[in-house]
Symmetry: D2
Subunit: 352 residues, 4 copies
């Protein structure tokens, strides 16, 4: 069997990283990317002669409404239309702005028989399965349309699913300390304020959709930073079972997409993780793993409490790649699917 | 009986507000304030001819090591030495930098028979009682030395004590989203980072000192803002009892030092509370009440979760004034003591 | 002659402070304020029983489109319609959102013979004179409509006008380091970014409108802070004349609305000025004076360079009050007009 | 002739990037790096098996006072002592903390006959020449010790030197809008404040040391951001000569280390440049070029005013590499020296 042919719709913060992630999969081919306007990210790609991650050329297709002359003006080569791209791919990773994915599905994917994975901005009803690589991989196998959990939910579920498989979790209460903007954003921002969202936060609700046996709730507070959400989680096991710090540590240590860090080592906050990823030489300073601070883990009666760092720009990439594997059925279990993704992305190599 | 004679040592962020709070008590006399250097706050006081809150003149005394010529150079009048001040007061509110309070106790308070209340920076051992006006007023009655809870702990205990008296609380897990600096601070700050503290945070430990029947733990994250900490609290009642949102609301609504607010009304975050206090015309834009967002309250199984805003500069003032009442024994119950403080500070008038 | 009857349209950041400023003028009467919705600022006013600055009751009138039931729901008393207010005033201070002022002029002011002063958000053409109390007071005398300079321009012109009267200025080049939001703003903000505006910045253009003999240009950069713009100014005198630091200092020291400060005294940045104003006990922590850092003043060849702090929320209040005086002709010279305003606002008392 | 053997002392923010820069030079060999403690940056290097830029292995040597067991505990391999490193290199790039460089010179460089380049933290007297690759390359040729200009001065001089060679510059007045911390810094920071430095700022003084025929002064304001200083420059040509915007543009466009950008293209501020460098796939998201906003350039009488973005972490790397070339005399003119550096670093390829 040949490589899985993949396209990426929308070359924004997530789309760029999806393209990079696909370009790194030995068993996938990045057929192309699609966008509407010659953004800074596309100007940067052109400055590198359209060569992206892993030495792969990223061919650019234009979505409906795009003005080709604007691309010509910046010498950005165009390979065709979005329909052209759709016709050449097995799976489209749709990271278009919210709502556009649903429209693309109706206009293109259904008609052309293209499978698709939608990002968090779309409604759940756009997809057959609300998907997470570790929590419900098997539900996605052989489906046509998946919707990925958003960045916070993706990282959160990695930890709750791992605890759940080890101990059986019945309840979680979370506090999301949310970064309010990405580096380079000017259209949204917050200056010297912490901003409240109405509770319960949607990430708790989303967790319950994926893990219906868990009772989840929580509060979200926006903070004026750009590098990584921090979530505190209080998890309660079933039947009054106690989870000790040592037991939790053992579970987290084994997870390929969880990086245990500590303040003592120098990881003083979310900015340390970003700096570390830059120093690793990772493309764009990205990191696929979430981090848990070992010195944040405390026992609360029988419950366990801990703090996670979520690298919001890149955390959903591995689970989306997992989704491609599930949709195409090249792997049919969570173990095999996530292992293949991890191998190609270099995830888990840091584990000793 | 005459007015209680009170002094304030240290005219920093807390000391200024303690002086203002005392100046507003009809049954207390602010004998004077003491400091080391002609800070901006003292320059501002001089520009107002040494007239502070409520039209009261604030007489300035110099602590050991102060250079009087520096005050002369700025035309700031000096009324005497710290010892002079000690000799004229019944109670000293000591808001000196951490460690200086203990030294003052040994050098002055014990020798001159002056009672004192220390702020959060001192060790607990400096005082007879670790004090909170609502949680353990009676323990402070007739004592010589109290230590006040710090700003976060003071506000947190207001809520946990209220729930405890209503339902019996056995466990709390908190996440403190801490403002990292006060307005006007340059010596400390944080730029585009969330910074972790090792768990458990001291505020949880302090709560257990005051309320030993409660099991408390939590995680603290510093954030780059200046107006008000936000704490999320998950409180568990004894014996598996459920606390409903309505029950919690009823309890919070009755507390004079808790202000219920909502996002819908316009209180979108911590900066809204600061703006509101400024618009109220409050001196320095301060607020004595903590706020709880009504639309943050959620049930987590039988537990109740909610978010508090802590106005860090002024929140401890009422409980410190309560402490003066306890030390002097002019009131002997929490109801009477806090009611007198509230009356003079105008607290609770907003309750409908 | 009786007091000048003044109304304020729009009780936002500027409107509140205009109302306070009018309430402090011994020869003016604040007839009322007008707004559209029961904002937090109006909720705060109600909590104080509608009593604003100087013990004055602020009567509330509703502008077109306001829903009275929304005010009733919050127990905010309503005194009438905007038209009712217009009929009772000599001058309306219009601090409505941009564009509404022009509409008000057409619908109400012209028909009812009400004079008006518009804030910076309106187009210059709405008014007879683009006004600054110190730079062109006399041009406003006896007119019907004035437009005030915006916050940065108001403060900037105070300094350039003062230098111009002393030395004759022919050219200024400015860099505006702009605070991006006011305390309590959530609808605009900037997180970890400096944002450029296209040059030349409008404040330089506005300065040339008021002072047409000066060639002005400049660059504006938005910064993620809330307390006070900082402007650096490079001013060139006519005919190659040199301005020394001492000469500049002498001029600035004499200006009632300029406060000379220094880093050595403790004024380390814009947040120090805000803290100082809070410590002065000023309502809302506001300050009417701009500040110039004495230790920022440097000579550049024959030119003089200095840095100004602009308290953006309150700086335009005195010049607007000056405008009322000009419109009504109660004073007819800049010296008399500004002196009367300063006297009532307590400006300049800090001068030794 | 063999490759130039280069070492890097201090693997902090600058040292890491110097090592990367050397690793990219075809005619240089990175013999090793030296540091004191197993920082996060060294932990990241170890996670990549000590492989840095361009596939080069970075051998680690320990400076005096280092505790080898701390490196062993983290499995970081150690190749020897700082003295061992010194004995193997022709030139040491010393990016130690301020003051340590002078001590290294005395203890090692002079005794062992090692040439060295010191970073901005050292005193000028440590070196034979205060060096800038474009402004005074020839002065460094054949010397033993150079001191590099700091990040702001390096970028600033690129522009002033270019204008000077084209038009003859006699005076500049600058405003530095300084980022207060680097990404990942917790030990310094600023929260909701603009902080003033006393004028004149040292960068203006440093410029005059390098370009003594120019009269320079300026004001520096610290701002709470991490990505790139912005400097506004007002430059005056000799003899009253006018510099037009078109002339300035032509000069800037030709400079390999100046990138012309515009708000219209999407470069809305300093964060856009950082995002762009990340999107380019540059290691650590770094950029060697400064940027000038085309739409910031304005004429002020005969003078020209413009705004520069300084990528503070990486801007000094090319000029330091230039310094190696000068010291070793492999090139003897600014044209040849900077051209070789640019070629290996890929600088100027973006020019059309």
């Amino acid at each position: 069997m040949g490589k899985i042919k993949v396209g990426v719709a929308g070359y924004g913060t997530i789309g760029q990283r999806l393209a990079d992630g696909v370009a790194m999969q030995g068993d996938m081919e990045l057929v192309g990317i699609a966008d509407l306007a010659p953004t800074l990210s596309l100007q940067a790609l052109r400055e590198r002669d359209m060569i992206g991650a892993n030495g792969v050329e990223y061919k650019l297709f234009l979505v409906d409404g795009a003005d080709k002359s604007a691309f010509d003006a910046k010498d950005i080569p165009v390979a065709g239309t979005f329909e052209d791209l759709c016709k050449q791919v097995d799976v489209m990773l749709d990271s278009s702005p919210g709502g556009v994915g649903a429209s693309n599905k109706e206009k293109y994917y259904e008609k052309l028989g293209v499978k698709a994975i939608f990002q968090g901005g779309e409604k759940n009803s756009v997809a057959d399965v609300f998907f997470h690589g570790y929590a419900n991989f098997e539900k996605g196998v052989g489906q046509n349309y998946l919707k990925l959990t958003s960045c916070n939910t993706t990282g959160l579920i990695r930890t709750v699913d791992a605890l759940d498989r080890a101990f059986g979790i019945e309840k979680v209460a979370i506090t999301i300390i949310r970064r309010v903007a990405d580096p380079g954003d000017y259209h949204r921002g917050l200056t010297n304020a912490l901003q409240m969202d109405k509770a319960p936060t949607h990430q708790a609700v989303d967790l319950m959709t994926i893990m219906p046996h868990v009772d989840a709730t929580g509060i979200l507070v926006h903070t004026p930073v750009t590098h990584g959400h921090i979530i505190t989680v209080l998890a309660t096991a079933k039947d009054g079972k106690k989870i000790t710090k040592e037991e939790a540590l053992e579970v987290f240590n084994k997870h390929p997409r969880i990086r245990m860090v500590s303040i003592d080592e120098g990881f003083r906050g979310n900015a340390s993780l970003f700096k570390y990823a830059r120093d690793l030489g990772n493309r764009r300073g990205d990191m696929y793993e979430i981090a848990i601070w070992e010195d944040s883990i405390v026992e609360s009666g029988n419950d366990i409490m801990y703090a996670i760092n979520i690298p919001q720009e890149s955390v959903t990439i591995p689970e989306t790649i997992d989704g491609v594997r599930a949709l195409m059925g090249v792997q049919t279990t969570r173990e095999d699917g996530t292992a293949a993704t991890n191998e190609y992305l270099g995830i888990g190599k840091f584990k000793k």
